[in-house]
Symmetry: C2
Subunit: 309 residues, 2 copies
Amino acid sequence: MNTDTPVILRDTSLRDGLQSLARTVPTEVKRQWLRALFDAGLREVEVGSFVPARLLPQLADTAEIVATARELPGLVCSVLVPNVRGAQAAIDAGAAWMLLPLSASHAHSLANLRKTPDDAVAEVGRIRALRDAAGSRCGIEVGISTAFGCTIQGAVSEDEVVRLVAAVLDAGAERVGLADTVGYADPLQVARLFERCLAVAGDRLACGHFHDTRGLGLANTYAAWQAGISRFDGCVGGIGGCPHAPGASGNVATEDLAYLFASMGVPTGLDFKALMALRVRLGSWLEGEPLHGSIWRAGLPRTLAGATA
Amino acid sequence: MNTDTPVILRDTSLRDGLQSLARTVPTEVKRQWLRALFDAGLREVEVGSFVPARLLPQLADTAEIVATARELPGLVCSVLVPNVRGAQAAIDAGAAWMLLPLSASHAHSLANLRKTPDDAVAEVGRIRALRDAAGSRCGIEVGISTAFGCTIQGAVSEDEVVRLVAAVLDAGAERVGLADTVGYADPLQVARLFERCLAVAGDRLACGHFHDTRGLGLANTYAAWQAGISRFDGCVGGIGGCPHAPGASGNVATEDLAYLFASMGVPTGLDFKALMALRVRLGSWLEGEPLHGSIWRAGLPRTLAGATA
């Protein structure tokens, strides 16, 4: 727990946030959104997903958003890709990283990805071969979803998560992260599982993705940070919700993550005023959608006022 | 961090919660409220405050609520007392513990208690003498408020908090707790300050009192628990709010604390269904007042469903 080591916050509102909303946000608004994230200090952003437009029309303009992202100096742009076809699109678009979902819950994997976890591992291998054959420098990161439990299956074996982390790295992924997709994780479980996976993956275990569905998003983030993780996903405005719990929050809010780390004196490079201003704009772009998160209500403490995280 | 050691949650909604609301709840409703807390498994409850009724008419029936509490078998009933006069009332009423406020922030102490922190320490000594002279077994606990920062003063010196912890124990308090009265604390600060105070107070440092004003209530609770604390204050329904941040939550919700510990497998003896049912009743008793907290929205995870904390 070195408070001098910066923490990287990756905003995923343009993908994980928008994916779970029924509405489609105009491409021009997404561009403003992306630029506002950049202006608030974000240097890693997940901007969309290369899935068939008939499945997620909200994200059909992902290639255009990647193009905008590439114009912003120093911005590392990632996209979700579910298969080889999506990987080819990510390479063609020039994304810096592709994020491959793999569900540790067998039941969730079949329901959401229509393949078993081991089929998803095999797909990682095919995507790595494609990437290398293309001479592309697009990085490959696998996000292990439902790593802490599943609404369909219930408990998920920690041994299975550890096995899958090793398997995707063996198959050619360069980074792997653990995601609490449904908000089941608790801080002790987070500490234990991240420690076990770090023993297998070392610094290739490079992301914690937490949901605040039951109020433990920040406590779990703190536990993962204590274990040695220094990159976290969030959604500005806490958008995304939880499909299994209407009205409940989903992704932890990027501004809440920024506050957590700022309060501890850990640099993230983010600017609160800009994040708060973006939150207000989100409220108008997404009129009628609930925003979540905590720090926006009370604002920064006097002891931090005016600070940049 | 022994997960077999039970954590004691003390509900303070009838004092800290009601104190910050303008309305006065009828005594008979408070009795139902207290019994519902008891039925949900709470065995420590702060039921009111012995302050002049003209200052806090909401709490003018504290002696009657103490009398009700004494009829509930095994319930440990505490009351806030600001001075010797209040201590005499607590002894007369037969409360098990009196909680004495002392603000570590000099500015907050003058503004709220109209005395300096060291004057408050001297009052602890007078109250101890009174208690001993009366042959009473009423315990004396001091709550160090604004221990992590103050809306008036800003930063509060950790050395000063450690000094005051030692001073109140020297003056005759049997227990002491640290309170993040305004929601400024962060997990690292919590870990550091509790560890320093534990070195001075040992197991007489017996309570963490956190507010969720900026979303860190549960992360801070986790950090204090990691440091070795096993008693925490909460307010069912997260009532109490924050006078400095209208609309923001104040006291961490008792049911959120219960969920945090249940998720980690730490026993608290609380019953979620009963806490949720009480929350609904609170909504009608306090119609128009905002309730706060997180777990009520999504409910327990499937992996914990039906569980008693």
